[in-house]
């Protein structure tokens, strides 16, 4: 491997990054994440939702194993917030590979909360419903938006239960029953589909979005225009949201987002150090040649 500072072998760079990521994870270091206004907006919208009969929050998990590292912590913290506030929610996905996550994420969070608060319990069908993978993308959304009774379009949940038999859907009518719509995705095009089609002429639910780091600049376009009301920016957004939950619910167990953000923070510093070192070395060697 070469060790000239302005031309370090890339394998050495990979090694440094690996160490930077693994060490904080292994030592379980949780640092306070940087505050994010976009995450605060997301948090405030959920805080303002009141549990009401015939109303629910709709979550859309359009991510799979590829972007699970970023979207999974985001969806976990939001699901935790909803469960703690007893706001009923339903989940679906336009992406087949998300199917196992639609069941495991709320069940996992509910189990964790039950351990924290043994006197309380969270029930499937009452606190949350898994609507499963729905084919059709924009066509499915258009059908949902047009119907006066969503139950007629949804028919059954992912477990085969009749939608009308679930307490969460008692009193639910059209999309006006959706108090907030939150989508977590890394896929190109799915956010635009939701933005364009998830609205009727009379009503558009506030849209919240959890994106991966790559799509942050594109997501900010919609946040600025007001088409989106809140945004979670990758793992950093999830960590910031987690910190807000800590403030609201003291004694809460720290989750993986702050742990991952600490590791990412160290990796960021390593990259910055390498870039600065490389520039310094290049500047010094160009000085010597002259």
């Amino acid at each position: 491997m070469k060790f000239s500072l302005d031309a370090i072998d890339r394998r050495f760079v990979y090694l440094l990054i690996l160490i930077a990521l693994v060490v904080p994870l292994a030592l379980e270091v949780h640092l306070t994440p940087a505050p994010m206004k976009s995450a605060k907006k997301f948090f405030d919208i959920i805080e303002q939702v009141k549990p009401e009969k015939g109303k629910f929050v709709l979550l859309v998990f359009d991510f799979g194993p590829n972007s699970k590292a970023e979207n999974f912590p985001q969806s976990e913290v939001v699901v935790e917030h909803l469960l703690r506030r007893r706001i009923p929610f339903a989940i679906y996905s336009q992406y087949l590979q998300a199917e196992p996550l639609l069941e495991s994420i709320p069940a996992g969070v509910a189990a964790r909360l039950s351990k924290e608060k043994p006197a309380e319990s969270w029930e499937y069908g009452k606190d949350w419903v898994n609507l499963g993978f729905r084919v059709g993308g924009a066509l499915f959304i258009q059908g949902l938006v047009r119907s006066e009774r969503m139950a007629e379009v949804l028919k059954k949940d992912a477990r085969g239960n009749d939608i009308t038999s679930l307490p969460l859907f008692d009193g639910v009518t059209s999309i006006k029953s959706i108090s907030v719509l939150a989508q977590f995705s890394s896929l190109t095009g799915t956010l635009e589909t939701i933005l364009q089609f998830f609205q009727s002429s009379e009503y558009r639910p506030p849209l919240l979005h959890g994106c991966t780091s790559i799509t942050i600049p594109a997501a900010y376009v919609f946040l600025n225009s007001g088409q989106m009301s809140g945004l979670l920016e990758g793992v950093a957004g999830a960590a910031s949201y987690s910190a807000l939950l800590d403030g609201e619910y003291p004694g809460r167990e720290p989750d993986r987002s702050t742990l991952m953000m600490t590791g990412l923070g160290v990796a960021h510093l390593v990259v910055i150090a390498l870039v600065l070192l490389g520039n310094l070395a290049a500047w010094l060697s160009s000085g010597r040649k002259v």
Binding site: N66, S67, T188, Q199, I214
Partner: protein
């Protein structure tokens, strides 16, 4: 609130304002008038890149990424046609890894035409179009393996790319390939700039084929869309002006102007400022 599924009269007017100049300049170009197109370094480099491949005796790789059957694909095919003709002329091997099976058929047809136009149909090998996978990262893995095994001298990355863009470009970078990329989405541009020798940004991809071939239809189309874009720029400037005026009007108690976006969104052409 209207117009999200159906056109409003305002949108129809904007469509006419967009298409009108295009048709006009295509006609002008067909009449033989010379239309100026600014130099694009990345497009100039295509000749250099294909020549490099011929000198080194190593293959050329041309990937359209995750592009499906959309207008963007046709823009990429224009460049692919040009590159394929060069490859036929210099007897270079051309590899075209694919992500979408529908695109495989279209690309095969394009290559066959290119080789036939160059007068070397016998050199065309249908196995040069390699369908890898519809899955994003399986495609990336296949592409990376392919370029590293084949030791390509030149890699073209033209089209729609997502998170795998850096992997594709880094794979070529690691073997010292000359890389020219064209990304339609702004998110991937920084990755290509870091790893490729030349990068075309956004609509420069659409201009690339016109720039290379200098054909009247393509040049006229390019010229026309640039003129049409001026209309949108004027709308933006007027909209910003009105919004700025309205923010002062709210403070100083003056009468506000109607918001320009309402003119585009309303279905009944009433010019009220309310949404």
């Amino acid at each position: 609130m209207g117009g999200f599924e159906h056109a409003t009269p305002g949108i129809l007017v904007l469509i006419c304002l967009l298409i009108g100049p295009v048709l006009y300049y295509i006609r002008i170009a067909r009449q033989g008038r010379d239309l100026y197109v600014r130099r694009i370094a990345g497009v100039d480099a295509i000749d250099e890149a294909t020549g490099r491949s011929a000198e080194l005796g190593r293959p050329i790789s041309f990937s359209t990424g995750l592009t499906s059957i959309t207008p963007a694909l046709y823009a990429c095919l224009g460049v692919l046609f040009y590159v394929a003709r060069k490859a036929a002329r210099y007897n270079s091997k051309l590899l075209v890894p694919q992500n979408d099976p529908q695109v495989v058929a279209v690309v095969e047809d394009t290559l066959r035409d290119a080789y036939r136009t160059e007068g070397k149909p016998e050199l065309f090998d249908s196995r040069s179009v390699v369908f890898l996978s519809e899955d994003q990262f399986a495609f990336a893995a296949g592409y990376m393996g392919m370029v590293q095994r084949e030791q390509v001298a030149t890699a073209f990355l033209f089209g729609v790319f997502a998170a795998e863009s850096l992997m594709l470009a880094e794979a070529g970078q690691q073997i010292g390939a000359m890389q020219v990329a064209a990304s339609l989405t702004p998110e991937q541009v920084p990755y290509f700039i870091c790893t490729c020798d030349y990068t075309l940004i956004g609509e420069e991809l659409y201009g690339a084929a016109a720039y290379l071939t200098r054909e009247p239809i393509q040049l006229g189309s390019l010229y026309g869309q640039d003129r049409a874009k001026l209309v949108f720029v004027i709308l933006i400037v007027v909209g910003v002006g009105i919004a700025t005026y309205n923010s002062f009007a709210a403070v100083y108690g003056m009468a506000p102007l109607p918001n320009i976006t309402e003119w585009i969104r309303v279905t009944d052409w009433s010019f009220s400022a309310a949404g």
